[in-house]
C-alpha cells in the first residue's frame, strides 16, 4: 500500500490496475513500484493532504482485471493508474471505468484502437500508441541502418501482432520491402523453423517483436545457426539487460526501440527511483509515475474524489502553469493544485500533454543496444520524438 494515513484535511483516493502477477508480472511489479513511489512521495511530503492508494493486481488477464477493477470501484476509488496491457485496459474500461465514471490513465496500453473508444473522456494514457513506435522502427531501419528488405518475427499475441502490423506498414511506406512476416507462440519447443521461414529470403534486417521470456530461447536458436552479423531490430519487450548474458552472446548486431522516459522530469525521477529501490527504472516506469502524478494533481485540483471531475482537470494540470511541477516537487505541486493554484506537470517519460482523445500529443522513443559493460546493461543510441 502506498500509505493510507490521512494526515490532513483531504485524502486523495487512487488505485492501480497493474499486473503484479501473471504473464506480465516481470515489468508489472516495477510499474507498481513506480506508482507507489509517486503515492508515497505525495503522502509523506504534502502536509495538508493524504493519499489513500489501493493497489489492484490485474493478473495480466482481462477477466481478473475486471474483477480487480470492480473491487476498486467498490472501494470508491475515483481514478486508476492502469490497466497495463491493451486488452485488460479496454475490458476494464468498458465494464467498470466508464459505467462507474472512473478516470483511468494507462501507462502502457499502446493499441491504436483505444484512441477511438467512446469513453466519456475518462480514459487517458501516458504512453504513445503503437502506430508511433512502428514509425520509429521503420524510420531508423531505413535511414540509419540502410535496410531495404526486412523480415518480421513476432509473438502471436495482441502486442506482437499490432506492433508488427504498424512496423510493416511504416516500413513499406518508407519504400522498403517486407519479405516475410512470421508469428510464433511463446515457449515453443524450438524456434528454428520459424527463424528459417523468416530469413529465407536473406533480408537486410530481421525485426523481432516479442518478450524477454521467449526472446532468450529465440535468440539462442538464432545464433546457433544464423549469421551473427545480420542486423536485428527488436522492441521494448526485450529491453532487459540480462538477455545477452542468458543468450550467451554479445548481441552487438541487435538494436531495439522503446518508448522512452525522456521527459523534462526524467533525471529527477531516475534519482528518486534509484534512491528508493536501488535500481534503474525499467520500461514504462516513468510513464507509470507520470500517470500516478497527473491523476493526483487532477484530483487535488478538482478537490473531490470524483472521476468525472478529475478527468476534467487532466488537461489543465498538464498544460503550462504558474507552478511547474515535476517528479521532485510533486508533493508540493499536489498541495498547490489543491489550493487552487495553476500547476503544469512536466513528466518523467514525456512532456505529458493530452490531445482530445486522451492520447499523448507527442511520443519519445529511444533506440537502444545491449551494452554488457555498462552498469545499466543497455545504452541509448538515439532518441526520436514523433
Amino acid at each position: 500500500t502506498g500509505g493510507d494515513s490521512s494526515d490532513g484535511d483531504y485524502t486523495i483516493e487512487i488505485g492501480t490496475l497493474l499486473p503484479e502477477s501473471g504473464q506480465l508480472s516481470g515489468i508489472g511489479t516495477t510499474m507498481v513500484d513506480a506508482a507507489d513511489l509517486a503515492f508515497s512521495t505525495v503522502d509523506d511530503g504534502a502536509d495538508s493532504l493524504g493519499v489513500d492508494a489501493t493497489l489492484g493486481d490485474s493478473q495480466s488477464t482481462p477477466e481478473d482485471g475486471i474483477s480487480t477493477a470492480n473491487n476498486l470501484a467498490n472501494s470508491g476509488v475515483p481514478a486508476v493508474v492502469g490497466g497495463a496491457s491493451t486488452n485488460v485496459h479496454i475490458s476494464a474500461a468498458e465494464q467498470v471505468f466508464i459505467p462507474n465514471g472512473m478516470c483511468a490513465c494507462s501507462p502502457s496500453a499502446t493499441a491504436v484502437s483505444i484512441t477511438q473508444m467512446a469513453d466519456d473522456d475518462l480514459l487517458f494514457r501516458t504512453t504513445p500508441s503503437d502506430a508511433l513506435q512502428g514509425q520509429v522502427m521503420a524510420e531508423y531501419a531505413t535511414e540509419e541502418m540502410g535496410a531495404q528488405t526486412a523480415a518480421v518475427l513476432h509473438v502471436n499475441d495482441d502486442y506482437g501482432s499490432a506492433l508488427s502490423g504498424a512496423f510493416v506498414s511504416a516500413f513499406e511506406e518508407a519504400g522498403g520491402t517486407v519479405q516475410q512476416e512470421v508469428s510464433y507462440e511463446t515457449a515453443a519447443t524450438s524456434y528454428t523453423s520459424r527463424i528459417e521461414s523468416a530469413v529465407q529470403d536473406d533480408p537486410d534486417l530481421l525485426s523481432v517483436i516479442g518478450y524477454a521470456e521467449s526472446g532468450i530461447q529465440l535468440f539462442r536458436d538464432y545464433y546457433a545457426q544464423y549469421s551473427a552479423s545480420r542486423d536485428i531490430m527488436t522492441v521494448d519487450g526485450l529491453n532487459t539487460a540480462r538477455i545477452p548474458n542468458e543468450v550467451g552472446r554479445e548481441m552487438d548486431n541487435v538494436v531495439g526501440t522503446a518508448p522512452m522516459a525522456q521527459g523534462p522530469g526524467r533525471d529527477a525521477f531516475t534519482s528518486m527511483y534509484q534512491e528508493e529501490f536501488d535500481a534503474e527504472p525499467g520500461p514504462f516506469n516513468g510513464a507509470t509515475f507520470d500517470a500516478a502524478a497527473v491523476l493526483m494533481l487532477a484530483n487535488a485540483a478538482a478537490g473531490e474524489n470524483d472521476g468525472a471531475a478529475i478527468s476534467e482537470q487532466m488537461r489543465a494540470v498538464t498544460s503550462e502553469g504558474e507552478l511547474t511541477v515535476s517528479p521532485d516537487n510533486i508533493a508540493e505541486g499536489v498541495e498547490a493544485a489543491y489550493n487552487g493554484d495553476d500547476v503544469g506537470y512536466q513528466g518523467a517519460s514525456s512532456q505529458v500533454s493530452f490531445d482530445d482523445n486522451g492520447d499523448l500529443v507527442t511520443g519519445t522513443y529511444e533506440v537502444w543496444a545491449y551494452a554488457p559493460d555498462t552498469e545499466r546493461g543497455i545504452e541509448t543510441i538515439e532518441t526520436f520524438t514523433v
Binding site: 508480472s25 516481470g26 502471436n156 512470421v182 508469428s183 510464433y184 507462440e185 511463446t186 515457449a187 519447443t189 524450438s190 528454428t192 523453423s193 520459424r194 528459417e196 521461414s197 529465407q200 524477454a212 521470456e213 521467449s214 532468450i216 530461447q217 539462442r220 545464433y223 546457433a224 545457426q225 540480462r242 548474458n245 542468458e246 543468450v247 550467451g248
Partner: protein, 401 residues
C-alpha cells in the same frame, strides 16, 4: 468398457466409409508430397530449408514423444489422463538442474543461488559451461539425478494425492491432477520466480553440406564456408558450397535416448513380469489382486517408471533447448497429449511416432501455410483426421506396449 471391446470391430459399411476418408487423406498427403518434390526440384524450396524444417520437427517430435511415454504409461495403466504430467516434468527438471548446478558449480556462486538456478543473482546461462561434450559428467549425473528426483516426486504425488482416490472415477482423478498441476507450477514460481533462464552453453555442432560440390561435414557453417571440414566424401555432386543441415550434440543425444527408451520400455512391458502385471492390473485390478499381484506395488512401480522417463525427458528437453521456464511442461502438455492419443493410448511406439508426426507437422507445414499461426492448428487437424480414420490411434487397440 472391456466388454464392449469385444464388439467394436468395424464391418463392411464402416470400413468402406473409413477407406473413403482414408483415401482422401492419403491422396491429399501424396499431393503435398508431389508438390514438395516439385518445389525441391525447381529450387523454389531450397533443400537446406526443407532439411532444417524436418530436423527441427523431428527434434520437437522426439521431445514430445519422449515426454509422452510416461504419460502414455500412467494413462493406460492407471486409467486417467494425468494433467499434472507436464508440471511434474518441469518440477523435476528444476530441482534436478538445481542440484546439478550445486554439484558442478560449487564455488562459482553461492549455493542458494545455484540451487535456485540463479534467482536473485547474476549467475546465468553458460556460466557453468555445461554441454554434453564440455562437461559430460555433469550431463550424465544431472540426467540420473533428474530422473530419480522426478520418479520420487511422482511417487510422492501418488502417495498423497492419488492413492486416496483409488476407487474414484477417472474423471475425479483427472481433476485432482489438475489441482496438482496448479500446485506444482505455482510452487515453482514461488521458489524460482517466473522468468525464463538459460542453463546450458552452446553445444558442439556439426554441419552437413557441400564444399565446392563435395559432401562434407564441418564444425559450423562458418567452418564450412572456410573449407575447414573434418569429414570429406570425395565424390563431387555439384559445384557450390552450401550448408545443408546443422545438428548439435544435444539433439543427437535426444534422438538416441528417445529411441533407446522406446525400445527398452516396450520390451519391459511386453516381456517382463512387472510389465505383464502392469497390464493385468490395467485390465482387471480385482482379478489381479486375486491372483496375488500386489497392485499397490505395481502402481508405485508404474509411477517410478513413468517418473523416470519423464525426468529423462525433462532433463534432455532442457539440455536441447538450453532454456527453461516454469511453464514449459504445461505448454508442452497439449502437444504431448496430441502425440499420445494420435499414436494410441498405451502404445510406447505410438507415443514416439505420434510425437514425430505432431512435431513434423508444426514445422514442415510452414512450407505451404500462408501464416505461421496456422501451424499448430494444422497439427491438431491432422490428429483429428487420423482419429476419424483410426479411432484408436495409430497403434491403438492394445492396452499397453
Amino acid at each position: 468398457m472391456p466388454l464392449s471391446r469385444r464388439f467394436t470391430d468395424a464391418g463392411v459399411g464402416q470400413t468402406l466409409r473409413r477407406n473413403y476418408v482414408e483415401a482422401i487423406f492419403v491422396g491429399f498427403v501424396a499431393l503435398l508430397g508431389v508438390d514438395l518434390l516439385f518445389s525441391l526440384a525447381t529450387g523454389s524450396l531450397p533443400l537446406s530449408r526443407f532439411a532444417t524444417y524436418v530436423w527441427d520437427g523431428l527434434i520437437i517430435g522426439l521431445a514430445l514423444g519422449l515426454a509422452g511415454i510416461g504419460l502414455s504409461l500412467t494413462y493406460s495403466i492407471l486409467g486417467f489422463a494425468n494433467v499434472a504430467h507436464g508440471d511434474t516434468i518441469t518440477t523435476g527438471a528444476f530441482i534436478g538442474w538445481g542440484v546439478t548446478f550445486v554439484l558442478f558449480g560449487f564455488g562459482d556462486a553461492a549455493i542458494g543461488e545455484l540451487l535456485l538456478l540463479g534467482v536473485g543473482g547474476d549467475l546465468s546461462a553458460s556460466d557453468l559451461g555445461i554441454t554434453l561434450t564440455a562437461r559430460p559428467l555433469a550431463v550424465a549425473v544431472g540426467l540420473v539425478l533428474t530422473a530419480a528426483i522426478t520418479a520420487g516426486l511422482s511417487l510422492g504425488l501418488d502417495r498423497y494425492v492419488f492413492e486416496p482416490l483409488r476407487d474414484a472415477t477417472s474423471m475425479i482423478v483427472l481433476i485432482a491432477s489438475v489441482g496438482v498441476a496448479f500446485l506444482l507450477r505455482y510452487a515453482l514460481v514461488f521458489f524460482y520466480k517466473p522468468s525464463q533462464r538459460s542453463l546450458v552453453a552452446q553445444p558442439e555442432t556439426a554441419v552437413f553440406g557441400t564444399a565446392d560440390g563435395v559432401p562434407v561435414i564441418a564444425g559450423s557453417r562458418q567452418a564450412l564456408q572456410n573449407g575447414e571440414a573434418f569429414v570429406e566424401i570425395p565424390v563431387a555432386i555439384g559445384s557450390g558450397t552450401n550448408a545443408l543441415l546443422q545438428v548439435n550434440a544435444h539433439q543427437l543425444l535426444l534422438v538416441a535416448v528417445a529411441i533407446g527408451l522406446m525400445i527398452g520400455l516396450h520390451v519391459l512391458l511386453q516381456r517382463t513380469k512387472l510389465g505383464k502385471s502392469m497390464r493385468a492390473m490395467a485390465d482387471n485390478d480385482d482379478l489381479a489382486r486375486t491372483r496375488g499381484i500386489p497392485t499397490e506395488r505395481v502402481i508405485r512401480w508404474t509411477w517410478v517408471i513413468g517418473g523416470t522417463t519423464s525426468g529423462v525427458a525433462g532433463f534432455l528437453i532442457v539440455l536441447e533447448r538450453g532454456t527453461m521456464s516454469f511453464q514449459f511442461g504445461w505448454l508442452l502438455l497439449l502437444l504431448i497429449f496430441a502425440a499420445v492419443v494420435l499414436g494410441g493410448i498405451g502404445s510406447i511406439y505410438g507415443a514416439i511416432v505420434g510425437g514425430i508426426i505432431v512435431g513434423l507437422t508444426t514445422t514442415v507445414s510452414l512450407v505451404w501455410l500462408p501464416e505461421a499461426t496456422f501451424a499448430r492448428p494444422v497439427a491438431f487437424l491432422i490428429m483429428i483426421l487420423v482419429l476419424v480414420v483410426r479411432p484408436k490411434g495409430l497403434f491403438g487397440g492394445r492396452v499397453v506396449g
